[in-house]
Symmetry: C4
Subunit: 370 residues, 4 copies
């Protein structure tokens, strides 16, 4: 990427977000029916290249099952309300009705209840019973503590997700998670993130990740920039990690690690752009929080919003636009990219003349003011 | 165009919209009366270098005739309400009165009525009877089905227009339109589009197009970017297609294919910029939807807004500013570029010292924040 | 300037407006009292490097006198209300009270009254009687017709000002103004513009102009971009014309032509930026239209807004902020750059360590988002 | 930095603000507890790398003490209300209740009361009595007049702060401050600013400054750009001064001058960015004006807003968000970067894998639209 001098001795790359780019169709066109958007990671096959973000406003055991049946993968957050409260519906209803000025304080309280090992197992069992692929997420800080429960309960895909997850975490007082050892000993594929650069992603790949999450996800991107000064312009980050994946394939003798865009995927156009930059799939939050079935009841937030000392995200009113089915596979009745997300991806690929996701990663993009 | 690295292995061109550029007068000045803005394509001559977009809010048989008499070319959409309803005025009135939240759903219903072969012929005959040049549009998907009716009814200029039209469409189940064969066998000049790149346009030129439409037109540009992630920054796209046209002239031994900017032409300044980038003429929608006579009654939409499964445009309130005559050739009573569109083009050319459209394609432009 | 390819075969310079740049103090500082902002053109000396724009909302005979006494130069427009109406105060009051939707239409009527030769002479005589330097403006179209009246009435500085004025105007039906001959035969110094490029300015310099106006002035810049697609990013334009002035000094053996920034000078910071880019003085409209004494009574417009067929500017509500004296030389009671304009210039120069205008043209600037 | 041609003969550097950049974590992660954000200048040690700006809305003797006890350094402005009024609480209460249109005029009056030598000593003594490090600020114009009082009263760190302070001030009528001599003879470390470029900073370093303030601080940045045309894009300015500091260390044989970012530090993310660009600490105004204890009672302004002839800043409503303790070290109950500022800095450093401030100056940044 082009390096720019901010001042003498301090250089910076120019980085691009999905909003900065657009896809340009240039070769041929194709019937949408002839386009495949199937996705497979490890032994697991999906009709849609998507994971639902482990956020309480998006994934409950019920919506994990519904999303699975529609062809995606719902990831339950094992550090959210579902493992802290016997009946989280009460807390969810309360959050949906909090006045603005009390929201973060009250959420800090609701999320201070302890995680119960029993509930971890119960929630996973509920999803498992439905027959869909089971995925659940822990932060790196809590992975060691609950991993056994999770595995015993029968998770198919293990997700480790934090604001930033590195393969090399420095801590002298506590014992940090040894990611490489953990993944090596685990029987299930592990998807890890977020990471923001090719270097960071390469370390996660070498630690054995089946997939890496690029970005910080969770709708919290904006306040992470405001609060920490940290930001991941997604188009550049995805392209950089996809490039690291190619390097790693070479060095590993052919192991293909999936690149999953986890952040700034707010509508159907962003899905196409993420793939265009090199992603294999996307992790989505807010588009699914708009479903009639969403546990957030028209509100959306991530765990960061409830951090006890340094909240880095907000409870956002997203409203509802239709059923999970309409949102994922249509039909759509709006023109704002909020419905029929994967019909749109299919049509965008058809319009550009591509027939599968892997090919579509090479589609031409331009940089253009939005 | 300058290539930029978004991330390692993913490059993108920087592309520019009409809003990104401005014309700079630099040589001499000229009396507006001494400027010619005449346009000729094939044997058809026009006082104004413009086509009215085939959209139900803009072109009815009546406004096609009115626009023709004022010196332009109105293109009737043969897949819109006029060929689906015996009296589309009822549907048009209903659309103009729909509450926002029901608009797209109801339009999806109104546009689901079947296209009637008889009405195709009737509408064309109505325009033909007036003596103006007759132009009508079909999408590539329906061209084979209705082309015979259209030809028999006596169309002068045939327009094939879709979101993206390529000379090479891949379909295994259905038989795609063989554009080259179709144009070759047709007796009328064919204008085809939209295309977004020089390569795409070159293919259409080689297929025999008399003119190519650059862009996606129809006021749907914005939601195409939102819904599909696809966008065509028009200044760059027009310049690129104009360049492809020069290449094609050389390879074809001198056949001149017209470049028609079809998108982002929202006011008089955009017309001048389109020509400045290399266009021979513009296709316009929203500026004409603001006419007292416009069938949309102050509303504007394209077929994309009524797509059954994936709407990609909105019904937009544009209001009315004056008569078609005042909008096209003045006089103007506003200073916002919405009236006397071609008086403005004439004056802009005069101020920059150019005497005809072909020369004006070489006027100097700068890139400047709007 | 750096050339960018918009598309193959169409290149454009990146151009900058005053808003795109900022002055950076870097060497030393200086007491404001030790800074000179005197300006001299031909034999005429001014305490302030400014001309008031020939606009009816800004310059009446009374304000021309007041501005002259404060150290500036007020330029009366001889094609405005003052030469079309015996008592323009009635028309001015009406304009100030017109409802928005009728404004342009009614102004088109008020400005359609014929220019009266007698009034041209009367108005100039009124200013002359006060003892201040007398300046008046005509458009190139009317210069031949009224120049004799103007000269006889005793104008000191003659201003020829149009949207674009070129030394080479092409007209076959009417006889265009021969600028070179006109200036040569005239006894008074002539300031001519607007021009937008170094080439255009060089032609005006060769025609004998004492000063050139850079830009289109008149608050009409924005709608000129909207209506005609034409725009002059002022920082680049002033720098380019200042460079042409250096070339012309060399070719003419030392004739120094003044560069006057005429456009986008909306506040005190813009004055400093104009000088920093190479201007000797500025022509200002809207900042003076905010004076208690301004004839526009809180409204501001240029002749362009009243063009009979293609209005290219609006009547804008600017309000009033203080007396002409407070606006030009303070004291200020606001922090928005609308008062004590030249106290601010003086302080900016002091803060940057410069002692006169000519030196200050070399101050360092940066490009920075506003 | 990359030089760009605005026009022939006028070049400008592209400069960046904190809003233009973002930090990208790339190496490893670290526990926040293991991160040090200690700062030491001369013999004075601070738990937090911050100075509270010498503004009446932020620092009173009481808040200087409170900030000192929390680990920062409050700087009292000796030319503000506290040295002009026996009981400034009356004036502060009045300012907080002024209607918008009267604010600047009335503040001009309140700040026209003379500075009383006795009050200078009293205020410093009040802070001194608490045991915290004592810092106070004068402008270069008044330093000679009051320096003796300040030193006698027992200041630990002397701050000289003006819009722009240069080591070489030109004045013929009055005797300007000889900065080098003044600092040499003074027993206390001197922090001087603002400066905007490496050259300017180098001169201040050579004059003996212990620290240099980069920027114009005081929330007045915006109107300084509007009023004077002067602006300091902070990311570039800090990087440039940090580079000058390296040069000076070499030329001085190892004297380390502290670089303190004084401007555009509006929230916690900006603190991290300032350090990332090379700052050792930040000077902050508006974030602290939001404290329950702040003397401005929810309003914020600098001396520039009360300038008698050319106000260059506004009284801004900032509201209150929590206690000084919550703002500086948390816990936070908002996600907008306004609370737990230094917990956020600590976490940002941990997330990026850095363990102290000096290391963190090397963290990778990108340029990205905000």
């Amino acid at each position: 990427m082009s390096e720019i001098e901010i001042g003498p001795g301090k250089r910076a790359r120019q980085a691009y977000s999905f909003d900065d780019i657009a896809i340009v169709p240039s070769r041929r066109t194709r019937d949408p029916e002839e386009v495949s958007i199937n996705w497979q990671i490890d032994a697991y096959k999906f009709a849609l290249p998507m994971m639902a973000a482990p956020m309480d406003s998006v994934v409950s055991p019920d919506t994990a099952i519904a999303i699975g049946k529609l062809g995606g993968l719902g990831v339950l957050n094992l550090e959210g309300l579902w493992t802290r409260h016997e009946d989280p519906r009460i807390a969810l209803a309360e959050i949906a009705s909090l006045p603005e000025e009390q929201a973060i304080r009250r959420m800090q309280e609701l999320y201070s209840a302890p995680i119960q090992s029993e509930l971890v197992k119960t929630r996973i069992a509920e999803i498992r019973a439905s027959g869909v692929t089971v995925a659940a997420a822990l932060s790196p800080q809590r992975t060691a503590e609950f991993a056994n429960d999770v595995i015993k309960a029968g998770v198919d895909i293990f997700v480790i997700r934090g604001t930033t997850v590195s393969a090399e975490h420095v801590a002298t007082k506590s014992e940090p998670l040894n990611l490489k050892k953990f993944i090596y000993e685990l029987d299930a594929p592990v998807i890890v993130g977020g990471c923001a650069t090719g270097t960071g992603a390469l370390h996660l790949m070498r630690a054995g990740a089946a997939g890496v999450l690029v970005g910080f996800g969770g709708g919290s991107a904006h306040t992470t920039r405001t609060v920490l000064g940290i930001s991941v312009p997604m188009a550049s980050a995805v392209a950089e990690v996809a490039s690291a994946r190619r390097d790693y394939m070479d060095e590993s003798g052919g192991r293909y690690v999936h690149v999953i865009a986890d952040g700034s995927v707010g509508g159907s156009g962003d899905i196409a752009k993420a793939i265009a930059c090199g992603a294999d799939a996307v992790m989505m939050g807010s588009p699914l929080a708009k479903a009639n079935e969403a546990p957030g009841k028209g509100w959306h937030w991530g765990l960061e919003a409830a951090h006890a000392e340094l909240p880095r995200g907000n409870r956002v009113k997203v409203g509802t636009v239709g059923s999970l089915e309409e949102i994922l596979v249509g039909p759509s009745h709006t023109a704002d990219g909020s419905m029929n997300l994967f019909g749109a991806l299919r049509r965008g690929m058809a319009t550009s003349g591509y027939s599968d996701l892997k090919e579509f990663q090479r589609v031409e993009v331009v940089i253009a003011r939005g």
